[in-house]
């Protein structure tokens, strides 16, 4: 009955429940109906219209805030909405929060307007309202655009520009990293992997393979990209796939595998060459965009699948991979010929092991 009915407080107070409903993309009516179930209106002699009016006030406020939320420092510095620091943090954190299911679908995709148009599929698939999907997509794209060209630590950049908490900033860093390197995650074979898995892997890659890794000397570039020096050095590791080196490595490996169960030992001695070649090829391939973007598929097809076929448990895979990594360090090549490659090997293999273990199907 009222055309206008607004309520404005000197202190902007946010009702987290209503905010959640708004973020989920509910309309005011839907939200009111939702809230009605949770809250007894009778206590306040209130009607559903009163609740709706309250929700509308909140929703309008969120719409105004949304502009500022797009660049959180603005929200922090603004004076229009006087609110507590915690409230601001909550607003930002929730606004940049996402559904892993939804974001899983964006991973590795080009964040173009075409993808945005296809969001309704994702929305249906993930059972998340389209509005919310759009927000998540836009957030990721915004973060991506903002930090793409920046120098320095990806996580720190995201934190300064979006005032996110560290865990959330890490997630965004992982998303940005995967998207920037266009790592393929959408293949059907990879569909069992959750967002967390990718985020974890990407996080390790950022720490160890990108420009922000401890080993990297030049920090001029952004750690959205892989450390080029590291990649170049990785090319030298190719030697590891050469015959003599391979054999030496195999011996060392088998020695290290003494305590392993029988079926593993047998499998290893048979398949060591394939395993080693695969690992070295992946390393070599990281230099080329075309191949590097398939890293997750390669890891799955060439390492994880063979392991699963032999019914390795996750722990066993870890043991094998660690043994492989460690024994390589004792080879003539790494130990004496090119000791400078030891760190490179550590950087590469440590991350690779972790990724494989992380991606390894857990049944």
């Amino acid at each position: 009955m009222n055309e206008v009915e607004v309520f404005v407080g000197n202190h902007t107070m946010i009702d987290p429940e209503v905010y959640d409903l708004w973020l989920r993309g509910c309309t005011a009516d839907e939200a009111a109906q939702c809230l009605q179930k949770q809250e007894s209106l009778q206590t306040f002699q209130a009607t559903i219209d009163d609740l709706l009016s309250d929700v509308q006030d909140n929703f309008r406020l969120f719409c105004f805030l949304e502009n500022m939320l797009k660049s959180p420092p603005r929200l922090r510095d603004q004076q229009i909405y006087q609110m507590a620091q915690d409230t601001q943090t909550m607003l930002i954190e929730k606004y940049y929060g996402f559904d892993p299911v939804v974001v899983r679908e964006f991973l590795g995709k080009k964040l173009a307007s075409r993808t945005r148009k296809d969001l309704d599929d994702i929305s249906e698939l993930a059972r998340v309202p389209l509005r919310s999907c759009r927000r998540q997509f836009d957030n990721i794209k915004r973060v991506f655009k903002a930090v793409e060209e920046l120098k320095g630590s990806l996580v720190e950049n995201i934190q300064t520009h979006f005032l996110l908490s560290e865990p959330l900033a890490r997630d965004y860093a992982a998303i940005t990293f995967i998207c920037n390197n266009r790592f393929e995650t959408g293949k059907k074979k990879l569909s069992y992997l959750r967002f967390r898995d990718f985020a974890d892997c990407a996080g390790r890659m950022i720490t160890n393979w990108s420009y922000s890794s401890v080993e990297c000397i030049i920090h001029e570039n952004n750690d959205v990209d892989l450390d080029r020096n590291f990649l170049l050095s990785l090319r030298e590791v190719k030697v590891m796939a050469e015959k003599e080196c391979l054999e030496e490595h195999r011996q060392l490996m088998l020695k290290a595998a003494q305590g392993f169960p029988e079926h593993m030992k047998g499998h290893l001695s048979e398949n060591f060459r394939t395993l080693s070649k695969t690992i070295v090829n992946i390393a070599y391939g990281l230099n080329h965009n075309r191949e590097s973007k398939d890293i997750f598929i390669d890891l799955f097809e060439k390492l994880i699948e063979p392991f699963t076929q032999c019914q390795y448990s996750c722990g066993e895979v870890q043991k094998v991979m660690t043994a492989y990594k460690d024994s390589a360090l004792q080879t003539e090549f790494l130990a004496r010929t090119s000791p400078h490659l030891q760190t490179v090997w550590e950087r590469y293999m440590g991350t690779l092991c972790a990724c494989v273990v992380r991606m390894y199907p857990k049944q």
Binding site: M1, E5, V6, G9, Q45, D54
Partner: protein, 1168 residues
Amino acid sequence: MPGRLKVKLLAARDLPVMDRASDSTDAFVEVRFDGGMCKTDVCKKSLNPQWNSEWFMFEVDDEVLQDEPLDIRVLDYDTYSAHDAIGKVYIDLTPLLINDLPYAISGWFPIYDTMHGIRGELSVYVKLELFNDFNKFRQSSCGIQFFCTAAVPSGYRLQGVQGFVEELVVNDDPEYQLIDKIRTSRASNEARQRLFSKLSGGLQRKVGVKVMEMGGNAVLGYTQNFDLEGESGIVVRAIGTAVQICKIRLGHLTPMGSSPGAPKETHSLTNTSHSHSNHHHHHHHNHRRHSQSRRRHSHQQHHHHHHNNHDSTTSPPLSPVKSYGSSPPPSAPAVFSGSPSRFVFGSYEDKGHLNRGHLGGQSVGQGQGHGQGDEADNEYEDGDNAFSCSSPRVDEESGMAGSPSLVPSHRHSVSPVRTTGAAGDKSGSNRRLSDSDMGSPQGGNSLEDNGSGFNLSNSGSRHTPPRSNLNQQNFNLLEYPFFTMRSFPAGFIVSLGSMVSARSVKLLDKIHNPEEPETRDMWWNEIRTEIRSHARSMNCHAVLGYIEQTTICDEIIILSASGTAARIQCDLDQCLQGTQPPPTQIPTGPVAPSLEHQHSIDHGKEKKLTVDIGLANQLAQMRMNASANAEGSEEPAHKCSVCHIPYRANSLPFPVNLTNCAMCKRKKVPDVLFTTIDPPKDVPIVSHGALIQARVCRPKGKGKGSETSAREVSDSLPFLEYEVHTQLLYKLKLRGLNALFGLKIQICLGENMIAALATGTAVFLGPMPAPPSPKLSTQVQLATQAESRDLAELQARITGVVQHHRQRLNTQRAAVIDMTNGDSNSLNAASDDSDEDQSDAETFINNKDTFVLEIDDPKDEILALVLRDSTPPDGFEVCNTQLPPGIPPSRIASHAQMFTQMAQIRYLPNINTKLEFADIFDMLLRRICFKLRRLAPCCLTDLNFHMEIPDEDEVQIAVTGCCLTLGEPQTQNTALLTLPSTAPSSKRASPRPPGTGQEEMMFNMEVEADKEPSSSASVTRTQPPSFNVPGLRQSKIYERRKGQPKMPQRLQGVELTPLPAVIGGKIVKYLGNYNFFLIRESTSVKECGGLAGFMQCFIGEMMAIVRGHVSALGGNALVGYQMSHCVLFSNLHKNQAQCLINVCGDAVQANYDNEPVSADPLLTADIS
């Protein structure tokens, strides 16, 4: 005092993108002041430009500083075409002129554009260097501090009261100028805002000048109102109370504080007294120099300026009224002031006699006044500076000395003001000045002037401020003894009369000659005179809580004024020491001889049956205080004298039931008291407060000529007021309460309706009798079975409602106490038989304790409305006084929120039968509570309703208020249950300050509306289990709440509050008052979220601007916040909307207990 204004522009942030191509902005800033203009460099391609400009200097006169705001524009540089405006910042410079503050303003100001709202922020640093050029005759009034706060500001002490000050200026409204047809909306809005700001500054300055001449150093309860009269222009009115205050210093305890406590006003007065004439003021200088000698002659010289009652002593008693009532001045086209729209709102007899304030007392008052003036003058010449004669003597003497021999019309004191206007204001913005001379020229003021002049010639400077500017005889001389404050120091109020109000309907016309337009002044003079006469008829010499309001529709304007007639303690010495004032003697002069019962609306003829509410459950009259106890050792916590009638029992100004005071048993008290002020601190309140509203809307014919229409309005006003009054009274009685505080009645005129809204806080005053509980009885034959059944139902409902309210508001306690005293008024327990007892009706009517509701049938509208009245939900207290009555301050935990609610509602009187007018307000209140549900238990205080009817079928209501969270009440259930049995009887009987502990029953249990008509007292006794029910419900709410994160005690940032103080903190410094008039327009309403989005955004922005200005002054709170204007015009077909908001308040720096004393940001700011 000329000065040098220095402005430095540091930076801006968050600017909008003005150049789409580069996604950036090339911003620069123009600073204008007093005709001068400076620019910064252009900061290319940045949304966060840093200019760090040099100091821009403006050499200015302080007069201009007061009148004009600093005008800063942020623009986007454009090489080829005109620069695009980004927005503006207006900075009011008056706070810089207040002494003893750092002369600087610095901070981030929101950049505001009337079309786009806030567009970024600008960092500005403003400094003022004043030269020590004291000029007594200057036009400026720096040094006078203005307070919107309607109370003595905290940390200050009242030293003297100079009296009522007012001023008004008239101007063309830029919106209605010819040029407006060709300029953009933005230009037009900006022209308006600038003009409003200028007018407001100028007005304040002029008020300040008046105050200075009166010898005051501050204005309290200062309010400005903008009357947008449309074609005929803008009228800006200001009223306030000129006072002398000084800061309370530690270790300084003498109440009068002659020298040590008052260096401040000494200073300001020194300013006044040193003369250093500059050419502008030469004229006045001369004038003043001869003032001593001209004093006696000035009366004649200026006589033609008087439209007031100076000659009233010589003319017949009724002459002042007659002079305007019967012969309208030529400039007023049609004056309906003779219309019967004048009332004394008092404790009417329930039968609804409306009486007109009789006018006889006025002349007497005048006579006294002059006589006292005479005496006072003599006293002065004796060199007695103290004026401390006690009131009895004054009264006595004034009674005799009513001779017209010396009419002390010290006109000289106003004349500088007038001359300013005549000499042509330098600013040129004001077409004219108010030449009304209320208050200022007379009595105490002129004496005050006299004093300063005298001292000037002798010593050149004064170090001893006048001790008490206000004493009885001076005070009686004040032309308008009005006080715009709402709360007063303890002991100030001797006795409360009743609410007085006056209205008149006028026709607007173009003010043809702005230099001599006496119309508006005269209109207000009439109103004020009437108010005064009403007060005098009640034998009251003062009007407290005085406000003036207008409502305009087309060419009709209704002017209203209201206040509370009271007798006050004029000698501040006494009231500050808190000693018992000498019993105010009731003068023996002729008082209130004639009573006109103008509108005794006779229901008798149409009456079918009478519902007699009352008696059956009559509670014994409350004996709060066994008089023995009061006189005994226990210090009386409260004074009952405030409630005693100021008039004489044998000549009542209006019909009222008198009883002996329940506390002292000696004096008479009325049965009902309506006032416009906050409850005095020392008045014994024994209940919680309850917000009571009367809402009336009547259709009004349209399309008639202005005159016909005006007459119609004028004729319907009395009926409207009668209905308002009836509603208030019914609601009050149904709640079992007997006094109404903070009553504000707003009449609003629309195209096709006229509405009235009265809001007040009802309480139970201990000394006054408890209203009887309602009980039905029929007087006439019941026609049908159905009718009698209806009647019975109604009876049950009424009883239920009464029970409900009583329990909620804690009046139960009073009843219990009463019962234990087991006194006099026997319970009329015969609840059942009174139904048949028809003959009783006669007796009831004559019985003073009867509450008779006369209705035509059981479906009586008013009664139905009253019964439907909603109550706030559990955990909420709602009132419109500044602090919740009946709740100890210690329970108030924090100031959680200040809110503004604005609603526009489609409403057509008569047509829209589904929506009752009253429902609108119930809905608004309900929603406010609902929206603040997370803060419960809390208390909504200082609720202020502002209604507008901008369109035919549109009612707009803006509500402001603040929400105070309350601490947990003491374990309620046990407290309640133990109360009747364990509390020692002396304790119960004594008038304790409400809520000193366990008796507190904040959430008084909602007993399931008790249908059976049992006495409320018996409810307490016989139904203890029912208390548990709500208790459980309560705890459930608390549990739910505990799940939520606990709110921090104090929120960060700038606090805005309508209250005069900062909850949980202490005001360290008053930094100046601010008055903002903002206009916001949009041509893309849909895009910004519809009208609601537009309004929500604008209100938010308005608050942000206010906060920005407060913090730039180094403040962290704005107290006395008021929204006096809020109107929205919209045309959704054109996607357009425009909104005007006017807010004001006092910027303060407050320290909170839990925070270290913050260093002054202005001192620490490291700039340049």
